[in-house]
Subunit: 323 residues, 2 copies
């Protein structure tokens, strides 16, 4: 699977390197150049290419749409890092830390506009279909980020609202990437919509899995500290589901644990409550629900089954089931 992905990744890397930003002012474009070299898996433009290939489109025709989503994604990271006061991104200094907040704001703005420049490199009829989708998705990503910030200060968040937040903040852009690829390959609207739903549902499943792994991953294989979300009182799907299902005694134990400064005690105590409330199973079942929907969406698409193998492989790669 990784080998298959790398073919797409190389094409994208080539085009990102070849993409010429204006020369100056340096304080506007150096931060963008710096941030783009921090890398990342380039998953979104890869999806755009895969979306095009599914419908027999030329990869080259999907590159500009792919670059647009990748630049857009990086714009959101630069601005989110300011809002979250994050010092590091992919192990390196964030833009607002290396320069300052103002430069982070303005170079982020310029990068968003750069994304639209890539979109504009499509021919008129394709552009007319890509732009409304891209706009709607971009709006939802902002809405997701706002919901995420709003949730931080709310005492109660319904799991349904949480799912909507992760859908908007991250999953819609995966759906959008795939569908933009499909549009460049002139897929039928209905098939392009199914592919969008596939990406959306896969993205939601992936985010729920992210929440699960933070608690239940094998520390030897996990890149971050297991239990990090628990320590940070992060409102994950697991915590929200647990708070909803807890009886009054368990609620009281949660309250005490969430305010303790003893990190080891906190992780142990919250995990005990998760076990009592069957949270691992509930979260896994929710993840599988979205995963199954994604596979159903993929099945609906009216192209030869062999063409779908790379996307099935991708879904498997992203969401290896442990049961």
């Amino acid at each position: 699977m990784i080998a298959a992905l790398s073919r797409y990744q190389e094409l994208i890397a080539e085009h990102i390197s070849a993409h010429r930003l204006p020369e100056g002012p340096e304080n506007l474009y150096d931060p963008i150049r710096y941030f783009l070299t921090l890398g990342g898996k380039r998953m979104r433009p890869v999806l755009a290419l895969m979306g095009a290939e599914l419908f027999g489109g030329e990869l080259e025709n999907a590159v500009q749409a792919g670059l647009a989503v990748e630049l857009f994604h990086n714009f959101t990271l630069i601005h989110d890092d300011i809002m979250d006061e994050a010092p590091l991104r992919r192990g390196k200094e964030t833009v607002h830390k290396k320069w300052n907040d103002n430069i982070g704001i303005l170079s982020g703005d310029a990068l968003l506009i750069e994304a639209y420049k890539c979109l504009a490199n499509n021919e008129p009829q394709t552009l007319a279909k890509l732009l409304p989708l891209f706009n709607q998705t971009a709006t939802e990503v902002c809405e997701g980020q706002q919901m995420d910030m709003d949730f931080e200060t709310r005492s109660v968040v319904a799991t349904e609202d949480y799912i909507q937040m992760i859908a908007y903040k991250t999953a819609v852009l995966l759906g959008c990437s795939l569908k933009m690829g499909a549009i460049t390959a002139k897929a039928q609207d209905e098939d392009a919509d199914d592919l969008y739903q596939f990406g959306l549902n896969l993205g939601i499943a992936f985010q729920i899995q992210d929440d699960i792994l933070d608690v239940y991953a094998d520390q030897n294989k996990f890149g971050k500290q297991v239990g990090g979300d628990i320590i940070a009182n992060k409102k994950t799907f697991l915590l929200l589901q647990a708070l909803k299902d807890a009886n009054s005694d368990q609620q009281k134990r949660f309250d005490d644990l969430l305010s303790t400064t003893d990190v080891a005690l906190k992780v142990k105590g919250v995990m005990e409550l998760y076990d009592e409330l069957d949270i691992y199973q509930k979260a896994t079942s929710k993840k599988n629900y979205y995963h199954d929907m994604a596979m159903e969406n993929l099945k609906h698409i009216r192209v030869d089954a062999t063409k779908k193998a790379p996307l099935e492989g991708l879904a498997h790669f992203l969401l290896e089931r442990e049961h």
Copy 2:
């Protein structure tokens, strides 16, 4: 002239009121709604309508392009206010003051995307011409803002660089507005380009006049404090030209004045130096140079002279010469 403008302004006001933003999240869209009610002259969308009318286009066809530039302009104001730490805009609290910086950043982002949504409401062939122009202009506006911030910390700024900064930061958007209107009216490229240049040159002349009025306006007719730029050590065209032309004795007097805290002495002293260096005449001559170029651009456009009267009126209204 004001009466003629108000016809366009009313049409724009109608469409801005009718423009529906998504319902929520409130913390994302309330700041945008608030900011749009602060008003302003809506000069940019008026220019889009005038650009369309010049070539016999339907005003209605230019409305979405006009809204796009107006929303874009408001996006830049929200982000600039954060960067400048400005507490007030049009006498009311700025978004980041009324809410906070994060909400200012994110609602600004959402407003920029909203501008692109308006653009997307044009038919494919028109959109394909509008989008690259809008993108290029938006990029230049960011570059102008960055240059402006860079200049603040530089000891020497050439008047040519200053002119480029004001061109990018404000004048290009006037040219863009006019040309987008022309594009919706299916004007010939050459004429649309001349109209762009007219707006660009008019915008530069207007900014230089702004610098002149800050020093030489009649306080009874001037909305701001006369001499405000001098007090704030703002690098205006006048100051940069004066610093360039000053001999070493005058340079020394400038250095002393720019660091004094005696405001009355500062304004009086700088104005004396401006008189010695003939700065009023030099700035007025530069303003007239761009004004003349603008009128030359307008003359070139291949439409009946009577059609050009509203734009001539606008130029006269914006740049009443005092000599």
